[in-house]
């Protein structure tokens, strides 16, 4: 069957509409066989952080189709990628056996040989060079059990914080933004807020392509609710922007001025909620960037004075966004009955990502548009388990599980006691973050690195030096991957074939704090193994190898994923994350549960920080609170922080040598580094390769037409791509997705990172564009 992209899109649109009313559509000729399943298992989509519930259809022991779960938040809807999930398991480039690089070629070896080699390489390095000579780089796609296990193994078992993950590249600024404003990470709201909001503020989110099923809710609200307003702040005229009542286009990297100007208007026009501000907020400023940063509390008057300069006129001069639009957006934001904000990488992948996050939160706190149905400030997540496994589970190099921090002595002691390791075992110094880790690997300070379930050979910014480092013969790189060759596994010394998605069981936690269990549906291909199985074996053997025999079994007594999950529940007990009520049995039955869920009869919490709308932890942590309490911020009297964050531009603005800004992002048909979606024939046919979007005005000046080859060059690299001349990026901006493994756009991007979150600025770098 050879569907065109147009036919595929129409069919997907029809399926989505039909699913919403429980109608089974006749399948187009050629796809009927695939759709006839004789058994269904429950799971979650493998792609983005939306976390759509799915049923996986099996026939003859193989996954043949997937359908949306009507009883889950996604109401049976799936996007085009979700509709064509099954083929990812049966791609011809699945990694099937352990492979060892000999010279320039990979040779098949046994699992025993692979594990022997890995233990000896890592173990010898520890003995010779110390614990910090080895590292692990994990993933927001790994199961929670896998991420928690590696956190415990490295931080508690080995005593090194050389462990980080790819959420550092996508969500770190959101995480630090929540922590600095509210005291604890993760959104307080839920997708349910979309059904109650009458004003949507989207900034730095191409929701229609990156989170299509979530966008359907916004779309429906716009259609059904005549008074529903959609504000979109984005330098690109995306589909979402085209649907907006107000599209605020601006020069990339200038949105901090816009957000401060909105706050300026809100206060000048007396639209702020004085009662809320007085009761629930404090004001802070950073007087010295450090490290560590020096923070001071200030007054409301100081905040108002700080905002003085951020007039709409000033913001227009800086950003190119019309002052009338800024004023209108501020009024709609403050005066609507319930305003919800959504953002994604456009705010996070920035050298001022945390500040940008803080400034969105500021608007909600100023106006009291928070902690009630429809009023919330919500970071959308890129990966299916970045929230659940890595942020909540504490895999990042500065974290410990469930809101605890490496730098906090009490938190370290608590986890040492919980894990049963000697006091002082957990290193008090946060480890290297993603970019720092790969820099260290380049230098040879880290000698052995294990990369699992992610593809840094394609996804890191300023890719070329890191690829060279990964390929070096002086270090040892192990890559656990479901596909080979990927742009990372091709650089590895040792490739371990990984079970994928429903070839194993485990738990995902998505954007709205909803945890969902994924049932194992089929056996892994060939000799592929679940990562957790490999991790446990490696951990036991390495701990023994370095002479801690007594700890080898005691620390890792698990027989299955449920054993790990039950320990996770205990680790969360009594914290602001409390998962105790989310038993495996309940998760198997439920269509996801939202934490906190402290007891086994607790239904889960849709909205946090509000007793009135069901958060039972308000009374536990702040017994005096009448309703709202930001109980994560105990040191500030359970109040959230309104930050004085000045406008700062990007690390690398356009200049006369490199006059364009490049921004990167996502495309509807593909996901991340394309290892899965480029393996789905329907998706590959629909969108066969990456291209560079150029505004027609710029194209005319460059003498470039659509389909011409253009050379894009930054201070770090150069690439020839096909041009797509289209009125989507604003003049001066060019855009490419990062999915295509044959067009590594990240050799162009900048690895400068946010000082607080250490998240790199993928979204902005200066480039020149020429006809090739």
């Amino acid at each position: 069957m050879n569907l065109t992209r147009r036919q595929l899109l129409k069919y997907t649109a029809a399926i989505a509409a039909a699913s919403a009313i429980g109608l089974d559509l006749p399948i187009p000729k050629g796809l009927e066989a695939a759709a006839q399943a004789d058994k269904w298992t429950k799971g979650v989509c493998r792609y983005c952080g939306a976390g759509c519930g799915v049923y996986v259809g099996l026939k003859g022991g193989k996954v043949v189709t997937v359908k949306g779960d009507k009883d889950n938040w996604n109401r049976g809807l799936l996007c085009i990628k979700g509709n064509f999930l099954a083929p990812i398991l049966y791609a011809s480039d699945r990694a099937k056996y352990p492979l060892l690089k000999k010279g320039d070629k990979f040779e098949r070896i046994s699992w025993k040989e692979a594990m022997d080699l890995m233990v000896s390489k890592f173990g010898e390095s520890v003995k010779k060079n110390g614990m910090d000579s080895i590292a692990f780089y994990g993933s927001g796609q790994a199961f929670t059990e896998e991420s928690y296990f590696m956190t415990k193994f490295f931080k508690g078992g080995l005593g090194t914080n050389n462990i980080d993950g790819n959420p550092r590249l996508c969500m770190a600024s959101a995480a630090v933004g929540y922590v600095t404003t509210f005291g604890k990470d993760e959104p307080m709201g839920a997708y349910d807020d979309m059904y109650h909001a009458d004003c949507f503020f989207l900034i730095g989110s191409n929701m229609s392509e990156a989170h299509p099923v979530i966008f359907q809710i916004v779309n429906e609200r716009k259609t059904k609710g005549k008074d529903v307003k959609l504000i979109v702040a984005d330098p690109r005229k995306t589909l979402v922007a085209k649907k907006a009542d107000l599209h605020m286009s601006f020069v990339p990297g200038t949105d901090l001025a816009i957000l401060n100007a909105m706050a300026h208007v809100i206060i000048k026009e007396n639209l702020h909620n004085k009662n809320f501000v007085g009761k629930h907020t404090v004001f802070k400023t950073m007087v010295d960037p450090g490290p560590p940063p020096k923070i001071e509390k200030v007054t409301w008057d100081a905040y108002v004075k700080f905002l003085d300069e951020y007039t709409p006129e000033m913001a227009e001069r800086v950003s190119g966004c019309r002052k009338g639009d800024i004023i209108k957006a501020a009024r709609w934001f403050a005066q609507s009955k319930a305003t919800s904000s959504y953002w994604c990488m456009g705010l996070n992948q920035r050298t001022r990502g945390v500040w940008a996050n803080n400034l969105v939160h500021n608007l909600h706190l100023l106006t009291g548009q928070i902690c009630r149905p429809g009023a919330t400030t919500f970071s959308l997540t890129g990966q299916p388990n970045a929230c659940g496994g890595v942020r909540d589970g504490g895999l990042l190099s500065h974290l410990l599980p469930y809101g605890r921090l490496i730098v906090n002595e009490k938190d370290r002691e608590e986890m040492e006691k919980f894990w049963g390791v000697p006091k002082g075992r957990i290193n008090a110094k946060p480890g290297p973050t993603a970019v720092e880790m790969f820099r260290s690997f380049n230098k040879g300070d880290i000698k052995c690195l294990w990369v699992a379930c992610t593809n840094p050979g394609q996804s890191l910014p300023n890719l070329s030096p890191y690829r060279k480092g990964m390929e070096s013969k002086d270090t040892f790189l192990v890559v656990s991957e479901a596909y080979h060759p990927s742009r990372t596994s091709e650089l590895a010394d040792l490739v371990l074939p990984a079970a994928l998605w429903v070839e194993k069981d485990g738990t995902y936690g998505q954007s709205e704090r909803r945890y969902q269990y994924i049932e194992k549906a089929v056996e892994p291909v060939a000799e592929a193994r679940p990562d957790l199985q490999v991790m446990i074996e490696f951990a036991r053997r390495l701990i023994k190898f370095i002479g801690r025999d007594d700890e080898a079994k005691k620390l890792f007594p698990y027989k299955n994923t449920e054993d790990v999950w039950n320990e996770i529940r205990l680790a969360s007990k009594g914290t602001a994350y409390d998962f105790m009520g989310m038993t495996r049995a309940r998760l198997k039955k439920a269509h996801g549960m939202q934490w906190p869920a402290p007891t086994e009869d607790h239904p889960g919490t849709v909205r946090r920080y509000t007793a009135k709308y069901g958060d039972v932890l308000v009374k536990k942590f702040d017994p005096q609170a009448e309703d709202i309490s930001f109980y994560g911020a105990k040191a500030d009297g359970n109040r959230a922080t309104i930050w004085l964050r000045p406008h700062k531009g990007p690390a690398e603005p356009a200049d006369s040598d490199y006059p364009f800004i490049l921004t990167t992002g996502r495309q509807l048909e593909h996901w991340h580094t394309g290892t899965m979606t480029y393996n789905v024939p329907e998706l590959k046919r629909a969108a066969p390769y990456g291209f560079l979007e150029i505004n027609p005005k710029d194209a005319q000046q460059l003498g470039v037409k659509s389909r011409d080859k253009v050379r894009i060059t930054s201070r770090r690299g150069s690439l020839v791509m096909e041009a797509k001349v289209i009125d989507v990026p604003r003049p001066g901006l060019v855009y490419a997705s990062f999915h295509d493994p044959d067009k590594l756009i990240n050799i162009i991007t900048n690895d400068a990172f946010d000082a607080l979150s250490k998240q790199p600025e993928f979204k902005i770098c200066a480039v020149k564009v020429e006809k090739a």
């Binding site: 147009r6 997907t12 029809a14 509409a17 009313i21 429906e220 649907k243």
Partner: protein, 75 residues
């Protein structure tokens, strides 16, 4: 060019008239029907066409609502 999957809700007894009205709109394809709801896809040359078609369907006799549930764009 945008594509929109939508549900058209209709009053009882108006199926024939509404289906015949939908057939007269070139950019609309009907994919199926369940109870009082019809699944359509609007294949528009622009968002304006989608909006115009939606408004035209909305104003048909017997139609109580048009609810887009999936939109995407292919340019």
């Amino acid at each position: 060019m945008p594509v929109s999957g939508a549900i058209v809700e209709i009053e009882e007894g108006t199926e024939e008239a509404v289906l015949s009205g939908l057939a007269r709109i070139p950019e609309v394809s009907v994919y199926g029907m369940k109870e009082n709801r019809i699944v359509i896809v609007i294949d528009g040359g622009s968002l304006g066409v989608i909006e115009k078609s939606t408004n035209r369907i909305q104003s048909m006799e017997g139609v109580t609502g048009v609810f887009p549930v999936y939109s995407t764009i292919d340019e």
